[in-house]
Amino acid sequence: MRRARLYFTVAGSSFRRYATYRVATAAGVFTNTVFGFIVAYTYTALWTSRPQLGGYDQAQALTFVWTGQALLAAVALIGGGAQDEIQERIRTGDVAVDLYRPVDLQLWWLAADCGRAAFHLLGRGVVPMAVGAFAFELALPSSPLTWLAFLLSTWLAVVVSFAFRYLLALSAFWLLDGSGLSTLGTLLSTFFSGMLLPLNVFPGAFGEVVRQLPWAAMLQVPADVLLEERSGAAGLAGAFGFQACWALVLLAAGRALQSAATTKVVVQGG
Amino acid sequence: MGESGAESRTDGDATGGGTGVGAGRETGRETYGPTGGGAEVCVEAVGLEKVFQVRRRTGVLRRERREVRAVDGIDFTVARGEMVGFIGPNGAGKSTTIKMLTGILTPSGGRLRVAGIDPARERTRLTRRIGVVFGQRTTLWWDLPLRDSYALVRRIYRIPGERYRANLDRCVELLDLGELLDVPVRQLSLGQRMRADIAAALLHDPEVLYLDEPTIGLDVISKAQVRDFLRDLNAERGTTVLLTTHDLTDIEQLCERVIVIDHGRLMYDGALAGLHEVGESERTLVVDLERELPPIEGVPGARTVRTEGPRQWLAFPASASAAPIVARIAADHPLVDLSLREPDIEDVIARMYAQQRRPAAG
């Protein structure tokens, strides 16, 4: 119980810390909005020549674009989350201190990342979505329950994304240049999450495989929940179940890597 | 403006060759400056000023603009080959002064010359004549081995090969860097990094070396090593050394002259001994007796300020010698151990203020 409160405190302070970066937030909103416009125009061209592509109509496709921009920072698809800090702490050796703290390292960082994501969803998600809705005709749901389901799905997306980035961050224990791997992770995340192109547009068997990978849980699934492509008790259970499974698998892998890293630090002193 | 202002002031009872607050500054010049000794001027600041515009949020949209005079008309000169310590509380303006002397910041007013160069106008030309060491942040390349960092420094300063090798060998030997050359800078300890940084700042034979808090956070051995090196450098090569510090021992062991800056003004310029007298600072003798005894009395020039079991604290003027006091105590009391505590720099400055206010009030 006290532990749970500790992690809530960590999340809260992380939220407040990111809330102090006002200029950075404004800059991010600007960038997300610019990208939203660029992608929205290309999708308009694409869906004009192929209406109903991937089962979306044009309004849904455009909603997908702006959902992607709204979630980009929260789900940290292009970095900017806890992993940068973790890697910096590994690089400077401060992580040795973290490993001896009486809290669980992975949960601690997860809590911090959830706090950050909550701020990024509000601070960097709402405005681009509103601008998108103002400039284009979007297919936003009217049911508050759908929005609630979307929030839950977004939270699960953050957890899956964190679990994946935690794995990348810990690789800095073994690699000289962790930033190179981060770049790689970023590019994988943007492609396989649907950020570049909705995954239901991906053709054939390749599409089938891509839709089952963990990155699908980061954007495609929450977007489909919002677009009511996944709805009803069964549809939503399937969506949440898919996200939760990947979250557990990746968190477990992170835990294994963390204990290997701890051994390495203890044995070699960093 | 500073020139004539200083000239018109009366010669006060400047002590220890230095000049106290409100006392004439000529004495300082005669002793240390170029006019009396005929030594070559290396650094000259006249009416040096730095004003920052600070904007502060006072409401949701309202903002208040305020002027902060970080350096408020400072005059001093440093002759070639001097070693001068800049002291003062945090935020007093000493770092700003050093930043102006190195060309990092542009002064808002006054005249400044370092090695005959105006730092703000010809920063790049100046960089070849000065060496800078920041205690808190390294000027070396964090991820590169020390050897590569030095090779880069050599190319950046275009140091001729022979001179570079001679200087590097000398620094490596005196600063004990031999085993560190292949270690990336990020893996060095604070003391090692400081030594490495000092070496990097000296490879191009600068005329002036600035050190910002060179001993901060170092262990006792590293501190001693750094101080020994700087003393030798100054003695053998005649390099002018300007350093800021919080550690009075740095000043005591290195500098004949201190400049105290507070609230952007020059509070004192002269010898350390004089500073103690101006500030009426006291040193403390900590005495461990065999057993608990009543407070020691009857030692001329000293008074017991505190007792705790067998340990007693005696205060005496910093300018007085400790020897007769120790001899007197040892003669009359069962002495086990004793140690001497130097006055705190903040304490000295605080006392200086108190003294400055007294004549004004009375």
Binding site: D177, T183, F191 | T106
Partner: protein, 294 residues
């Protein structure tokens, strides 16, 4: 006496101008040389871990190819996007990516200025006898960023063979010209973004809109975008000169803004202008830093 002085004044002024220009040239050459050896040192230090480096370059190459794969997937559903075929879009993609990749390789470290201002390490750059611009540009030079450039060259090779075009010398010459001027325009954006961070330290991300956002936009046909956006990137932030305008000429497409024909060849001049503006703003930013220290 005064007459004579007045008569001599223009000559004196000319001599001063000549000297100023000469000094600027000397300074620029020294800056480039210093950039060279600082960057070389970074390359050397990463080469100590050769396997890791090769993996990173390959990884970078593969993942940037994924980026293009998204466009290929689009074309599995359509034959033309905004009136452009896949090889044509590939040509746009490759030229945009090459220009941006070159700028990113050479000047990619400019987004770190804000954090350097915050932690005070800009001061350490100011006490070295190398232009700060060169030091910032060379800082943490990462050769692995060459991956994007490789991808662009591969794509360019494919699109040139796949395009059914009459490669006149003029068209052929336009390709390297657009890559180099495009890189200069993106480079100017990097420098401007860096200078902007002297005033707003946390605003590093704004420049992503123009660098990453710009290169993404330029990878698609201009016909896809709204007229106002096209005007913006032609007249305000002249990204259209990176590849769109010259590429339209090479591919034989009409310019949606109907600008006069000579603008297709104006990229080098626009790039030079951008560099001058960026240089002046950079200098103002650095001077601002030197007077406020923050």
């Amino acid at each position: 006496m005064a007459e004579a002085e007045r008569a001599a004044a223009p000559g004196v002024r000319d001599a001063r101008a000549v000297r100023a220009v000469r000094e600027a040239v000397v300074r620029a050459r020294w800056g480039v040389r210093a950039y060279g050896f600082i960057a070389a040192m970074w390359v050397r230090s990463t080469m100590a871990y050769r396997t890791s480096f090769v993996l990173m370059v390959v990884g970078n190459l593969v993942t940037t190819l994924l980026d293009f794969l998204a466009i290929v997937i689009m074309f599995t559903h359509i034959d033309e996007l905004g009136g452009f075929t896949l090889p044509e879009v590939a040509f746009l993609y490759a030229t945009s990516s090459a220009a941006f990749g070159l700028a990113d390789l050479l000047l990619g470290s400019f987004d770190r200025i804000g954090s350097r201002v915050r932690d005070g390490t800009v001061d350490t750059l100011l006490v070295r006898p190398v232009p700060v611009l060169a030091q910032v540009a060379a800082d943490r030079f990462a050769l692995r960023r060459v991956g994007r450039l490789l991808q662009a060259v591969l794509l360019l090779g494919w699109s040139v063979t796949a395009l059914d075009l009459d490669w006149t010398p003029g068209r052929l010459l336009l390709v390297p010209v657009m890559v180099v001027s495009g890189a200069a325009i993106f480079g100017a954006v990097y420098v401007l973004g860096g200078a902007f961070q002297f005033w707003a330290q946390d605003a590093a991300e704004v420049q992503n809109s123009f660098t990453y956002g710009g290169t993404t936009m330029l990878q698609y046909p201009p016909t896809v975008f709204a007229r106002e956006l096209l005007r913006g990137v032609t007249f305000v932030v002249p990204l259209a000169f990176v590849n769109w305008l010259p590429a339209l000429h090479v591919l034989g497409h009409d310019d949606p803004l109907r600008l006069p024909g000579w603008v297709d060849f104006a990229s080098p001049a626009v790039a030079a202008l951008c560099c001058v503006v960026a240089g002046l703003v950079w200098r103002a930013g650095l001077r601002g830093y030197q007077s406020t220290g923050s």
